[in-house]
């Protein structure tokens, strides 16, 4: 036995010390990486009516304004939201019992009435949907809420990536010319899903 310490003992001490330091450093490093990472969001937009145009565009434009990395995958009826002309977006109160039916004009007591029109009546009056759409648009603008076009522009300004579902384009006989040129790409589920996997927030609308 000499004065020099056992190699095994040195190894054991080094290992113990490394373990202690590593755990602490790892936590610090992970916190640092988390703080530096740009938050990201993907949205799958599947609906094409005026009311359903709002959730994806409001969420995406706001996230864009917050500096997030956002992509929206427009599929099925969601493709209607990529049309060059959005003035054709409609709303249908038929079978939509969740929709408040209040008039956007007149004295306050009148505006607070919720007109519960039976489906039977709604389905049989020609032009009912057009009237409901017009009233909804007025309700929206009265409240100082942005129009869909404005929100979509805000998305594009905020760097939101618009992605079209190629399969749906083919399915409904659309052409890419029907849609805004700012669409980043047209692809399928297999290409989109990995983006969703890596995003912090993934929404299905």
């Amino acid at each position: 036995m000499g004065m020099t310490p056992d190699n095994d003992m040195i190894d054991a001490l080094v290992k113990q010390r490394v373990d202690e330091i590593f755990s602490q450093k790892l936590e610090e490093k992970l916190a640092e990486l988390k703080a530096k990472k740009t938050p990201s969001m993907t949205i799958i937009a599947t609906k094409g009516t005026l009311d359903w145009a709002y959730p994806p565009f409001i969420l995406a434009s706001t996230a864009g304004a917050l500096g997030w990395d956002v992509s929206i995958f427009f599929t099925f009826y969601g493709l209607q939201l990529l049309r060059k002309d959005l003035s054709g977006l409609k709303i249908s109160p038929l079978g939509n019992p969740g929709m408040p039916m209040k008039m956007p004009f007149g004295p306050d007591w009148f505006k607070s009435i919720n007109w519960n029109i039976p489906n039977l009546v709604q389905a049989n009056i020609p032009g009912f949907e057009m009237m409901a759409t017009g009233l909804m648009k007025q309700t929206i603008s009265n409240c100082g809420v942005a129009g869909v076009e404005e929100l979509r522009d805000a998305c594009l300004e905020g760097g939101v990536k618009m992605i079209g579902c190629q399969m749906t384009v083919d399915l409904f006989g659309f052409t890419r010319d029907d849609f805004i040129p700012e669409v980043k790409e047209y692809c399928g589920a297999a290409h989109f899903l990995p983006m969703a996997k890596d995003a912090d927030v993934s929404l299905f609308i």
């Binding site: 409001i58 706001t62 100082g144 809420v145 942005a146």
Partner: protein
């Protein structure tokens, strides 16, 4: 408080105050102060979150006569 630009967001509802603030700040240089006036009660929390997320300090926030005043500094 001194400011370099004013954004009148009165009558505008979520998320317009934030979107317009972002746009206004884009054209400003670092250190300049943007004054935002809004009537949307939701804008109080929205502006706090916006400033925290984007790193543009919210110098002050006040309410007067049902209007909300924010002073945001471009980082």
């Amino acid at each position: 408080m001194n400011f370099d630009k004013e954004l009148d967001a009165r009558g505008l509802n979520c998320p317009l105050p934030i979107l317009k603030s972002k746009k206004s700040l884009n054209d400003m240089t670092s250190g300049q102060v943007l004054k935002v006036v809004s009537t949307d009660p939701g804008s109080v929390k929205d502006m706090q979150a916006f400033c925290k997320q984007t790193g543009n300090p919210l110098l002050s926030s006040a309410e007067e006569n049902k209007a909300f005043f924010f002073f945001v500094q471009k980082k």
